[in-house]
């Protein structure tokens, strides 16, 4: 039933619920109901997609679109739902099977990456990308407003590391090619968007050992390759030869909006 429903556009009522500020993350992601949670992720994804389509249409065709304030409000609203859902371990812990735990955790993380502005494409070689400063447009709906950075903190890092660890323990093709890379991307992307998150990341005692596992000890070559690729992207020069991918500049440009 769930597989069928997610092939359809999200229910209008579900989309309206997202806009209602009185609705909490627990209303959206009810404990012990993993498929409702997965459907909520689907609805939020549709919600963001429709907002971005409106923005793109208003820019290319001059159609009436959302104001900057509205776009910022949508991003903040989505962030206020998705980050607490990731941070609450009970959301995934109450799934019946470890596979479902990983599926839900990964779905939440994938949506989170999308919200942060990373490109989350179907799993393939080179699919995981960070936005470079050259593609950062002020006031774009795909950018993270500066006020959203407050959601990115140490406790979120702890949860993302826990979700990553769970995904890493799974012996499935999706784990190696999708779940683990998305978790890692969410952590590195959060570092780009928040100084506090990056400081927590750099100071975290488990991080060096984690990267030793991901880069060297992990037996699945897909995991080792995607980890190296993500580090290379975040540390390496831009395609335009402008030097480093300037995540700080991207953050600053968002703050100006």
């Amino acid at each position: 039933m769930y597989d069928f429903l997610v092939k359809l556009p999200a229910d209008e009522k579900a989309l309206e619920t997202i806009d209602d500020p009185s609705v909490s993350y627990l209303d959206m992601f009810p404990l012990g109901q993993p498929f409702k949670c997965l459907y909520a992720v689907h609805a939020l994804r549709d919600y963001l997609k429709s907002r971005r389509s409106k923005t793109a249409a208003s820019e290319t065709d001059g159609q009436e679109g959302d104001t900057d304030e509205r776009r910022v409000a949508f991003s903040i609203r989505a962030m206020s739902l998705i980050v607490p859902a990731i941070s609450d371990p009970q959301i995934t812990a109450q799934c019946r099977s470890p596979e479902l735990q990983i599926e839900l955790g990964s779905a939440l993380v994938e949506l989170f990456v999308s919200l942060l502005g990373g490109q989350v494409n179907p799993p393939s070689k080179g699919a995981l990308m960070f936005r470079s400063s050259s593609s950062c447009r002020p006031c774009s709906d795909q950018e993270l407003p500066a006020s959203a950075a407050r959601f990115l903190d140490g406790p979120l890092l702890e949860r993302l590391l826990a979700i990553l660890s769970l995904a890493l323990s799974a012996d499935t093709p999706e784990s190696a090619t999708k779940h683990v890379p998305h978790c890692l991307q969410s952590i590195l992307q959060s570092c780009c968007a928040s100084d506090a998150f990056m400081s927590a990341f750099c100071a975290h005692p488990a991080v060096p050992r984690l990267f030793e596992e991901l880069l060297l000890n992990e037996r699945r070559v897909e995991v080792r390759e995607s980890t190296a690729r993500l580090i290379r992207q975040i540390c390496g020069p831009t395609e335009e030869g402008e030097g480093y991918v300037n995540c700080a500049s991207a953050t600053i440009s968002c703050r100006r909006s």
């Binding site: 060297l216 580090i231 290379r232 480093y244």
Partner: protein, 171 residues
């Protein structure tokens, strides 16, 4: 066995300056990841089947840091350390066609490299061809030359990725 520090020339603790408008975040990432990744080179040499990602990443990061003229890495100390690794390395790949990725650090100062040469199962000697301005690296084993590699001094300092075959020849 405790691992010796491999992040030569890099502070043991990388502290972020979180003040507004401080150094570029990507440079901070490089500064954070470089000691973490370069420390794995020593471990990767003992894991030839899993080493390609670490060594390739390390090579790319070092090239990026060099191009950016970053002071995160002390190239002279690093080349000494990696040259020691190269000298102390004994190939154990015996199957034909089974290659081991290998990192080799060079130094802008040839005397520095010659000074590091010492007896080892795989002996390396370095000579400079003054006329062409290039270096030649010879690989010896049991008194027999088994490999030879030339590179231009103009490219120093940098890292050459070599693959050492089971036969001992350098390609």
């Amino acid at each position: 066995m405790p691992l010796p520090p491999f992040h030569v020339g890099v502070p043991n603790t990388f502290l972020l300056d979180s003040s507004p408008g401080s150094a570029d975040a990507a440079a901070k990432f490089c500064g954070f990841f470089w000691p973490l990744v370069s420390r794995l080179v020593r471990l990767a040499m003992a894991r030839p089947n899993n080493s390609a990602e670490v060594l390739d990443l390390c090579f790319d990061m070092l090239r990026t840091l060099r191009d950016a003229q970053s002071d995160v890495v002390n190239l002279e100390d690093l080349s000494n350390d990696w040259f020691d690794l190269l000298l102390g390395y004994t190939t154990f790949e015996v199957r034909p066609g089974c290659f081991n990725h290998f990192l080799f650090a060079t130094s802008p100062n040839p005397a520095l490299l010659v000074r590091r040469i010492r007896p080892s199962p795989t002996m390396l000697t370095l000579s400079r061809l003054a006329s062409s301005g290039s270096y030649t690296l010879l690989c010896w084993r049991a008194g027999r030359q088994v490999g030879r590699m030339s590179f231009r001094s103009g490219l120093c300092p940098f890292i050459l990725r070599t693959r050492m075959a089971g036969t001992g020849s350098l390609t």
